[in-house]
């Protein structure tokens, strides 16, 4: 449904997108996960025919983004990151306007937007500029949907939105998916990755990986441990001082650490046996615990854990400096 081949885009000295290739299948929710400045918006703008790539080819719904830009614009829905509706038109005026621009009527496609629009319908005479963040978001989504697009582009629809409203928004996306709409959505929130069918982790204009969230997590090569103790701030410093610890970052109520590959370090006296066996990890955990207790940490809890998307992002981004 969306196809990108070797797309690059440069703004003066800044390489916004660097050789991006990927495909989005029909009916898929595909997530672009990455921080501000990663290139997400540039990619959206190329695919919605608003800017031209310097290199590469892209097509949307079988149409070329350069040659067939007019046809693409009729078929796709685009919700930009910045609120882009008419602030001084009312809620219903905005919706009518977008319906008219796309040669349709609100009535014709009401079924599609009904669930979302009904939530803001009580305020339909209010000016869009006077709406709260959550209501603006729902109106923008309704306007992007009113011409029944085949592909929906959502650029950071949940940024700055609280966790409860974010969950609701993703519920709405799942409903739209059921109605056959293909969705490309970007987000800086790593926890939303698991709600997508497939994701691309993006940083500094490059894709770090493309796969299903599960497979991205499974591809994490290293042993990941969570460590907690009474004094979390001191624990962070002490963990980093241990030579066998490769990376250590705070993750909510615990710290996540990865260990250096023992075969690649010379200093192994205090460390577990070199031979990999099932007890290896238990030995490592015990050693680590003793080292921390020797530094006066109390209530030390160390567990082997499964990595999340954020762990993967941090690991993969190390190689993309």
């Amino acid at each position: 449904m969306i196809s990108c081949k070797n797309i690059s885009k440069k703004y003066k000295k800044v390489q916004a997108l660097n050789d991006i290739s990927f495909e989005v299948k029909p009916g898929e929710i595909f997530g672009l996960i990455g921080p501000d400045g990663a290139g997400k918006t540039s990619l959206f703008r190329i695919l919605t025919t608003l800017i031209l790539a310097d290199e590469g080819f892209a097509s949307v719904d079988g149409l070329d983004v350069v040659k067939d830009y007019k046809l693409i614009r009729e078929r796709v829905g685009y919700m930009p990151g910045r609120f882009s509706l008419y602030q001084d038109l009312s809620v219903e005026e905005n919706l009518n306007f977008f319906a008219t621009v796309f040669n349709t009527t609100v009535e014709e496609n009401y079924e599609l937007v009904k669930d979302i629009y009904q939530q803001i319908e009580p305020f339909k005479t209010r000016k869009a500029g006077k709406l709260s963040g959550g209501m603006k978001q729902k109106l923008a989504l309704s306007c992007a949907l009113i011409h029944k697009p085949t592909v929906l582009f959502l650029d950071e629809p949940t940024t700055g939105v609280d966790p409860v409203s974010r969950k609701e928004f993703w519920g709405m996306l799942k409903n739209l998916q059921q109605q056959g709409i293909t969705i490309l959505v970007s987000t800086p929130y790593m926890d939303e990755a698991s709600l997508c069918d497939r994701i691309a982790l993006i940083q500094k204009g490059r894709f770090l990986t493309i796969d299903s969230p599960q497979k991205v997590a499974d591809s994490f090569q290293k042993t990941l441990l969570s460590v907690s103790a009474e004094n979390m701030s001191k624990l962070l410093t002490d963990l980093r001082a241990i030579s066998e610890v490769e990376s250590c970052f705070a993750f909510g109520d615990s710290h996540h650490i990865t260990l250096k590959d023992p075969t690649s370090t010379h200093k192994q006296e205090n460390w577990g046996p070199q031979k990999k066996n099932i007890n290896d990890i238990d030995l490592t955990i015990n050693n680590l615990k003793m080292m921390l207790e020797a530094k006066n940490h109390i209530n030390v809890v160390i567990k082997k854990i499964k990595p999340g998307i954020e762990d993967c992002f941090m690991e993969l981004s190390k190689n993309n400096l």
């Binding site: 709260s132 209501m135 409860v164």
Partner: protein
């Protein structure tokens, strides 16, 4: 323990709508206080009052030793403020931004040069002092923005979603900087939508429909709501909000 913020029955009404409805809490010196809530719960309105930008309808609050109702100008001089949306002027250099904020916050002229030098040294930005802020990597920008917000040595700094949209590593480095700052005695009042960051706070309050629905240490909140993490605590409190997201 010395109180840096004391809030009693603070209320802000717009017509019949009570954006903030009789909230009361205290923040101690050196504390990292997390101020959470759903969109529309009243966080921004409450924060504006605490920063001396909005006069309460009723109730009172003392911030950094000054009354928000009668001494708002003194509060503005004695607090720091930073948000992800607005922090530094991109088209000014590092040194110009520091000079600008030093002036805004009325840092004594004689203090500006030595403090600027100290700040540049601490952040390792000596060679970048004449670079435009927009040319800096995001991580450096964030550190600079925070350092500028506390350049005038305020007793408390308000951080309004300081890490929104920031990559995972930079986000964590930012929190490590917050920890360092609190070691020197500054109090931090912070809002965030990242629930893992709520865990880094000494205490957390969660606003729902204009009221403070819960206030305690993250550990106690998790115990009380039988939750595994702060995300679950937040979800339990905020999902029944009547005015969420509008």
């Amino acid at each position: 323990m010395k109180k840096v913020i004391e809030v009693e029955n603070l209320t802000k009404a717009f017509g019949r709508f009570k954006a903030v409805d009789q909230i009361s809490f205290e923040v101690e010196k050196g504390e990292i206080f997390g101020f959470l809530g759903a969109n529309g719960a009243g966080k921004t309105t409450a924060m504006r009052m605490l920063c001396g930008l909005s006069i309460p309808t009723s109730g009172k609050a003392i911030v950094a030793g000054y009354d928000i109702r009668t001494q708002p100008e003194m509060i503005k001089k004695n607090i720091g403020y930073m948000s992800q949306k607005f922090a530094l002027y991109e088209d000014l250099s590092v040194a110009e931004n520091i000079r600008f904020y030093a002036g805004i916050y009325q840092v004594p002229e004689i203090e500006i040069a030595p403090r600027t030098l100290e700040l540049l040294n601490r952040l390792g930005l000596e060679n970048e002092k004449d670079s435009l802020v927009k040319a800096l990597p995001l991580g450096w920008k964030q550190k600079l923005a925070f350092s500028v917000a506390i350049f005038h040595h305020p007793g408390i700094v308000f951080l309004d979603e300081p890490t929104g949209g920031v990559d995972p590593v930079t986000r964590r480095q930012f929190w490590e900087m917050i920890y360092e700052a609190t070691d020197s005695g500054i109090t931090v009042f912070v809002t965030t939508h990242y629930m893992d960051e709520a865990e880094y706070c000494d205490r957390v309050s969660i606003m729902v429909d204009g009221k403070i629905a819960a206030l305690d240490t993250p550990a106690n909140l998790k115990k009380k709501f039988e939750a595994n993490n702060m995300d679950e605590v937040f979800y339990r409190l905020a999902r029944n909000a009547s005015r969420k997201a509008d």
